[in-house]
Each structure stands twice: as structure tokens, then as C-alpha cells.
């Protein structure tokens, strides 16, 4: 498989991946604008809301869950279908599976940490600690991000 060959030889650089992620975050900011315009402060307000009204706390919880699902589905659906999100497409990087084909479950697993920055940073510790090209969840889902710039060099 051509992708396998590229993956073995040319994993995407960290800066390419960060740039792609920032582009995706900007796009998601637009997608989530209607929800964000509800003026929600997820941390302080949730605790405050719980003390004020259970219904309000429930609404905040539901909105937090929906926001997380939208983020999760954006990355998982697109990576499952095309191997790329908008950010990855623009940065010419791609997600590939070490298995024959990346399932939707694999895509969900590798992206589940993206629902919150703290989870994502924890997930990225593998890159810093083990000098690996994979986050922890990428390791468990048998997926990796490769650079498509390498195509011309091969």
C-alpha cells in the first residue's frame, strides 16, 4: 500500500499537525458560534448554575455534551471518510491506519481526546515523553498521521 510506504518513511511533522489542528479549531469556532453566542462559560458557570437551578445546570451539561460531540464528529467522520479534515487537507497531511482500513471506531478512538484541550494535552504526552510521532490514542487505534509532501520525493 502506497500510504503504508509513506507512513513508514515520512510521518507528518509536529508543526504541520499543530498548524492543521489550529485551522480546524478556527473552522469549528465558526461552526460552534451559535452555541458559543449563548454566552456559556463552561467551568465557572456550570458550578454556579448547579447551585442556582438544576434545570440550568442540566442545560449547560447538555450543551457541553453536544459541543463535544460536534467536535468529535467533525474529526472522526472526516478522517474516517477521507483521511483528512480541512486543516489536514490544507497542510497536506493525512491519517492512515496500520490496519487495512480505518474504521469509524478507530477514528472515534483517536479523536476522543479532542473534546477538551486538557485531554488532548495529556494525550500528546507520548510525543514529548517517548519522542514518538503518535499520541497515546493514535497508538491504541493503530493510526498515524503522515505527510503527503513526501509523495514527490519518493
Amino acid at each position: 500500500m502506497k500510504a503504508d510506504k509513506i507512513m513508514k518513511t515520512n510521518p507528518a511533522s509536529l508543526w504541520m499537525r499543530i498548524s492543521a489542528y489550529l485551522i480546524d479549531i478556527l473552522l469549528l469556532a465558526v461552526v460552534l458560534y451559535p452555541i458559543r453566542s449563548l454566552n456559556i462559560d463552561y467551568y465557572s458557570s456550570f458550578l454556579h448554575a448547579a447551585s442556582k437551578s438544576p434545570l440550568l445546570a442540566w442545560n449547560l451539561f447538555a450543551i457541553s455534551m453536544i459541543t463535544a460531540l460536534i467536535i468529535l464528529f467533525y474529526f472522526s467522520l472526516l478522517e474516517h471518510k477521507t483521511g483528512q479534515t480541512l486543516g489536514k487537507l490544507l497542510m497536506k497531511i493525512m491519517v492512515v491506519s496500520k490496519n487495512k482500513r480505518m474504521t469509524f471506531g478507530d477514528a472515534l478512538l483517536r479523536n476522543v481526546s479532542k473534546i477538551h484541550l486538557i485531554f488532548l494535552l495529556a494525550d500528546c504526552l507520548n510525543i514529548l515523553i517517548n519522542r514518538s510521532n503518535q499520541r497515546y490514542l493514535e497508538k491504541y487505534s493503530n493510526t498515524e498521521v503522515i505527510s503527503l509532501w513526501a509523495k514527490s520525493k519518493l
Partner: protein, 286 residues
Amino acid sequence: MGKIKTIIITVVLLWIIAYSVSLFVEIPDFEDKVAIIPIENTITAGALKSPVQQNVVSSSKIIEFIEKAEKDSSVRGIILAINSPGGTVVGSKEIADKIKNVEKPVVAWIREIGTSGAYWIASASDKIVADELSLTGSIGVISSYLEFSGLLESFNVTYESLTTGRYKELGSPFKELTEEERSFLQKKLNQIHDYFVEEVASNRNLKLTDVERLATGEFFLGKEALELGLVDYLGGKDLAVNITKELAGVEDVKIVVYEQERGLFDILSMLKQDFAFGSSLKIEAR
């Protein structure tokens, strides 16, 4: 191109979901608020009469605003920004009754004028703030209408009417009041006047005899009203906000003003009101 199409479809679908969620879920502002409800112009119990007649305020609308402020848990207190000479008896009473049942602190802030029915409303609040030059008081009832019988006579027009009750024609603009009718009407006004005085005395914790003494229809400047016990403080908006904050036990608040928005539907419904018929006799606390 296939990939871009997939990305666009996914993004649009996710945006639609986010937008739909924002339409159905309401997250109230968590900031503590004080709601200012303006009560301006003549108070009436009904809807506005005409789109161009901007000088009346409906008691139903004011009550709707009070209920909205009551339901909003972030609203910690209500300020009634009064600038009204009064209005109909029932319209004023409806608002005053509503205020008495509000659990949140209510402060009346009398601006230029808060007399008669508007003062009745203010008296139902927990505290009253007025400017030293505001006009207030004027506790009394008035009933008036135009009477055209002389005009008809000068044009040699005769007014004929058949009625079954002795007082059925009371207030008709086409005939003069008889002594009996005048006495009947005065008796009713006195009853309303007594009720008004009792309400003010009870709301303000004043002696009934003291309020009766003041209830001559005379208006008082804010400074005089303070000495007579008709208002609690002399000041303006800032003082009203500070007193509300103190009564509510909060320090920082956001001020929100509840004002009536008029759309095309409101204008059309007001036009419809112009074609309604009714008695010309009005009894007002103003």
C-alpha cells in the same frame, strides 16, 4: 474535489445542529441583574388605542414585565421607573396588586411625575425614591367626559333614547346629568377615593387620618413628600439602584431595561381597537 465536498457537507450539517441547539436551549445570564420597568404616560387597563397614540401604557404589559422579572432567577430586584400622571383606577390597581405579591425587592423611582394612580403603584413598592422636584401625591379620583347636548340643541338636533334602567344612560355625552345621576356618580367616586386612601395608608404604613388629610388631589414636590412620609428617599437612578442592591443583598449588578417593542402586528392590532365602540365615561385616578 470529493474530499472538499465531504468536508463542506459535514461542516454545514454540524453548523445546522449547533444552530438548532442554540434555538431550543436557553441559558440565562448568570450575572445578578436589576430590572428597570418604565411606567410612562397614562396608565390604562386595556390595550393601546392607536399606533400614533404613544401617551398610554397598558397595565397588562407592565404586569407581563413584572412576571418576566420574577421568573428570571438572575434578576435580584425590580425598579419601577415612574413618569406618569396616573391613569384608570383598575389599570393602576392591577399593577399595585401585582407588586404587592412580588417576593423580590421592588423600588419605585419617581422621575418627573408620579401622581395619583402612578403614586398608588409606587406606594405598593418596598421603597420610593423621588427627585426633590418630582411631582407626586395627588391622591384623588376624577371622572370626566364631554357633553354635547347644548351643541345638538343649537343645531336643532334632538337626542332620543329608550332605556330600561334608571342609571343606564349615565355618562351619555348627548344629555345633561340630572341631580340624582350626579349624586350617584359622586357616591361611586367617593367609594373609589376611600379605597385609594386606605390602600396608600396600608402600603405606606401611615395613619388613615393622615392620608385622608393629604388626599385632596393636591400634588407635592419630592421634598415635601419626604416630610409627609409619601416617599422614602430623595435622589435619582443611582440611589434607586443602590437601594435595590441593598434590599436584594447583592453588590454588583447589571441593569436591564424591559421596554415594549412594537412590531407590525402590534400596530395592526392597535388599529383594530379604533373601531371598537364603548361608553365615553371614564373614571381615572389622575
